[in-house]
Amino acid sequence: MKQLLAILFLTVILTGCNDDAKSLARMGFPEVPKDLVIACPDLAQVDPNTTKLSEVVDTVVNNYSTYHECREKVNNWIDWYTTQQKIYNSVK
């Protein structure tokens, strides 16, 4: 009988640690795609001793590409935020 009471008591106490009891009905913060949390890199620099225009253009092309990637990242952040906000607001 004592053992049964001890088991019952422990069950009641330990069930209190259950996640379900802790987070009765709480919505977690939505995950963010991994690519979005990588910071944009610095722009590439031209070799200061170069006299070739082609090398300068090559760096400019690289930097344009970096800009386009960063622009997409910002646009995707906006997209992510708008979508997640809509989903969050639907839970009421």
Partner: protein
């Protein structure tokens, strides 16, 4: 913790218990009222009647409480279902964005490769017709350098 244990015990009780207790209390009260008419049982009836009334009132009170709890539990279940659905929608939305990122990154990269290839083909011609002044890379590098890279903005004020 204590209130949770009480909740746990109360939520484990069967639905019919509180109405049964209320009914039992009412039956006891009625029975005491009837036997109170007989002089031999009157002393017992005086004692049983308030107990029956208290049990009946207590049973009705707890029955109502259980109803309110059931209503809130239903609401919590609804919200939990909505949250689970929202979490699923959130994952789907993230998967779409991730796909978009991969595709767009690839397009940007491919475009860069094509342009660089064109540049390599025309490099000799470009360099033959134009010689840069040494100030050009310096000016360009100044523009490429992040102007806020070394600036610390104190937002505490």
């Amino acid at each position: 913790m204590f209130s949770w244990i009480i909740d746990f015990i109360l939520s484990g009780l069967p639905d019919w218990l509180w109405p049964a207790i209320a009914l039992g209390g009412f039956a006891t009260y009625s029975f005491a009222a009837i036997i109170g008419n007989f002089p031999a049982f009157k002393p017992y009836a005086i004692f049983i009647k308030p107990i029956g009334a208290l049990v009946c009132i207590g049973g009705i009170f707890m029955w109502g409480g259980a109803g309110v709890t059931a209503m809130y539990e239903e609401k919590i279940r609804d919200i939990k279902e909505k949250i689970a659905l929202a979490a699923e929608q959130s994952k789907e939305a993230n998967a779409k964005i991730e796909t978009k990122i991969v595709v767009k990154k690839q397009v940007i990269h491919d475009t860069k490769v094509v342009i660089q290839k064109e540049l390599v083909e025309s490099a000799a011609k470009i360099d033959a017709e134009c010689k840069l002044d040494p100030s050009v890379p310096v000016i360009l590098n100044k523009a490429a350098k992040n102007p806020v890279g070394t600036v610390t903005v104190d937002v505490q004020k």
